[in-house]
């Protein structure tokens, strides 16, 4: 596990050392590829031999952490592969906005990736907190990358709201530690997630409940659950497109898995009904809150940001439904929504540059203007809306089937109706942008090579929608077992 964690910080240092040269983008690409290979190898080891502990109990890798590590590193690779073209294009055409020397951007993205990987592999809840806070700090700087007033405002809101949230999560960590003091005494053992789960029935339920509430608010704010979501649309809109793609996939998965760690301890201590109820209520609320903003939205990145809130809400709701099939669907959805959302953000970045506008009413006739981008764009729309043959359809369908098989039919029905409403909104926006006459000023400045990662994402999304390879399926199944043993 240690090499996996060390690659990105070391590459970040290398990027700072090479600041100003052309090598930084390549260093980031190489580091992301290396991280992905190691994450896949780790997943293979976990699949074969079960959970691994490392670094004297401070780190551990079970199927859930392996799954999230694969998502994070895969998204980092896509972000690096697309970002090298996108950021170069931004740097040449927007002198006033991008004043960063090349190197600092790459270094910060790598720090963000390193922090997310540390958060997924941390076994100690204190270490988890430190890593999540570090990811907030790195991503806040990236949200403020462009020095326009909007970016400053978004960065400030993001930093302040998530800092308050994370402070409450610190209180949650303290409370959980306290609830275990009479079992493990003072020392790192009382913060170890594996020991806490093992000793959960003996923990003080009053404090576990309090801890879960605070963790839910704190890490839920980071994941983008309503009503703590108000920073999210601004941050995603103002961040550079590759960073927004990374935040809406990797960071979301990381924060959500932190929530799942607290959920597992709480469910084992006070029974699953109470934490499940919270997940369902706030999951449904997030889905419903996002709908009106998606229906009447003018900006593409904002539309995707609200879609992220909707998807986080669905993840929480599916976990709350509580049946094994719904949990499996939720874990699968974590993968699928990452593929679909990063594809949508990146193809949106290409279109935004090509139309020289981020407003959707300035985009039209994408299919006619550039068939390649158009196909990717339509694929992204199908993925975000959850239609076949995209993988998101399968994961949503499985989770909802699991929900209808369980005890909470109304909640599953709410989710289903929310999906229908979201679909009408997305179909309206997408058909208006994809069809019709292209704008005369449409000019795609990005080279065809920048579309390679997008084709890869679309290919995986459709492949997983039609056929789930054995190892992937096994990993998702085991991750679901970690969440709900």
């Amino acid at each position: 596990m240690l090499p996996l964690l060390l690659v990105s910080p070391l590459a970040a240092i290398a990027c700072l050392a090479l600041r100003g040269s052309r090598w930084t983008a390549r260093v980031m690409l190489g580091a992301a590829a290396l991280v992905l290979v190691q994450a896949l190898m780790l997943a293979g080891r976990v699949l074969r031999g079960g959970p691994i502990e490392g670094a004297a109990g401070w780190l551990q890798a079970d199927a859930l952490s392996a799954l999230v590590a694969c998502i994070v590193s895969g998204m980092a690779l896509a972000c690096a592969a697309y970002g090298q073209y996108y950021m170069a294009e931004v740097a040449t055409n927007e002198r006033a906005d991008a004043r960063w020397a090349p190197g600092r951007y790459e270094a910060l993205v790598l720090v963000l990736v390193g922090a997310m990987l540390l958060a997924t592999l941390a076994n100690n809840l204190g270490l988890l907190w430190i890593a999540i806070e570090a990811s907030t700090l790195a991503s806040a700087l990236l949200v403020g990358y462009y020095r326009r007033p909007g970016a400053v405002e978004a960065g400030w809101k993001y930093l302040l709201l998530c800092s308050v949230g994370i402070t409450l999560a610190l209180l949650a960590t303290v409370l959980l530690y306290y609830s275990a003091v009479h079992v493990y005494g003072e020392g790192p053992a009382g913060l170890r997630w594996t020991s806490l789960v093992a000793a959960a029935p003996r923990l003080d339920p009053r404090f576990v409940r309090l801890a879960f509430l605070f963790a839910f608010v704190g890490y839920g704010a980071k994941a983008g659950l309503a009503p703590m979501h108000s920073w999210l649309p601004d941050a995603y809109t103002q961040a550079p497109t590759p960073v927004a793609a990374l935040m809406s996939t990797g960071l979301l998965a990381t924060a959500f898995s932190a929530l799942l760690r607290f959920h597992a301890v709480t469910a084992a201590c006070v029974g699953p009904a109470w934490p499940n109820g919270l997940f369902m209520v706030f999951g449904a609320l997030s889905m419903l809150v996002a709908i009106p903003f998606m229906l009447v939205q003018g900006e593409f990145k904002r539309l995707l940001a609200y879609s992220s809130i909707e998807h986080t809400g669905f993840l929480a709701l599916a976990i709350g439904l509580g049946t094994p099939l719904a949990t499996f669907g939720a874990m699968l959805h974590l993968v699928m929504q990452s593929l679909a959302k990063s594809l949508a953000f990146m193809v949106g970045g290409t279109l935004g540059r090509a139309n020289d506008s981020r407003r959707m009413d300035h985009w039209s006739g994408v299919l006619a203007a550039s068939p390649a981008v158009g196909v990717l764009f339509v694929g992204a729309g199908i993925g975000v809306a959850g239609l076949p043959p995209a993988g998101t359809f399968v994961s949503e369908w499985l989770a909802l089937t699991g929900g209808f098989a369980g005890a909470h039919h109304t909640v599953a029905l709410v989710a289903l109706l929310a999906f229908v409403a979201v679909f009408t909104g997305l179909a309206f926006h997408w058909s208006r942008m994809a069809l019709g006459r292209p704008r005369p000023r449409f000019a795609d400045h990005l080279p065809a090579a920048s579309r390679v990662p997008l084709w890869a994402l679309l290919g995986l999304l459709v492949l997983f929608g039609l056929w789930l390879p054995g190892p992937v399926r096994a990993l998702v199944e085991q991750a679901a077992k970690v969440v709900r043993p």
């Binding site: 430190i130 806070e133 610190l170 009053r206 404090f207």
Partner: protein
């Protein structure tokens, strides 16, 4: 390790006094119109926190608690207030702006929050849980006061001060519930906090750069 605690500590006058100083300095920050005075209040707040941890370390004889206390003093009582004060002097944040609540009304709200905290902490945490009995209500009260500072002030630096006071209060809760978390974790938390405050300073500077002052209620360009 199992730390045995002498009987007198929960009723220790030193700890009680320091907890009082902790709460009072948080209230002092809430009452101040001048940002620099609020930074000083935060400095005393952190000083009280560090001294409580030092007393606990002295009484229990645990070296890791003493080390954590010294680290708390170094970062929270010296480094962070210095960073914040420099930020205030350099920018235009030192000038008074009208708080959303007037000072008397704000003080009344803070008083109510303290009453709520002292009366309800026992109901929330149950009787007899706190090792340092006087610290837990003071910590809950300071959390609420810190959050109140964050929502009732316009200047960006004041909101940061509210946030770090909340953070201090949670550290106090950690000390009074469990003598603080493992040393490595505390070090990481303090490092994150230090970097976070530096980052906040950078954003405050940019806000002042783009809109001429640091009134965060005017940050409303992003909607929908």
């Amino acid at each position: 390790m199992n730390l045995s605690l002498p009987e007198w500590l929960p009723r220790s006058n030193t700890v009680n006094l320091l907890a009082g100083a902790f709460l009072l300095s948080a209230l002092y920050a809430a009452a101040q119109r001048r940002v620099l005075a609020a930074v000083t209040a935060y400095r005393f707040n952190s000083l009280a926190l560090g001294l409580i941890a030092l007393v606990v370390a002295f009484v229990t004889g645990a070296r890791h608690i003493a080390l954590a206390a010294l680290l708390v003093l170094a970062t929270k009582a010296i480094a962070i207030p210095t960073l914040l004060a420099r930020q205030v002097r350099r920018g235009r944040g030192a000038t008074e702006t009208e708080p959303i609540f007037g000072v008397p009304a704000g003080m009344l709200v803070c008083g109510a929050l303290v009453v709520v905290a002292f009366s309800q902490t026992r109901a929330l945490f149950g009787p007899g849980v706190s090792i340092l009995a006087s610290c837990l209500p003071a910590s809950v009260a300071s959390t609420l006061v810190g959050l109140f500072i964050m929502v009732s002030r316009r200047q960006a630096v004041m909101q940061v001060i509210g946030l770090v006071i909340v953070e201090n209060a949670i550290f106090l809760a950690a000390v009074s519930l469990t003598y603080g978390m493992p040393l490595v974790v505390e070090m990481g938390v303090l490092l994150d906090l230090l970097v976070g405050v530096a980052l906040f300073g950078m954003f405050v500077e940019r806000i002042e750069e783009t809109q001429g002052d640091s009134d965060t209620t005017r940050l409303t360009s992003l909607k929908g």
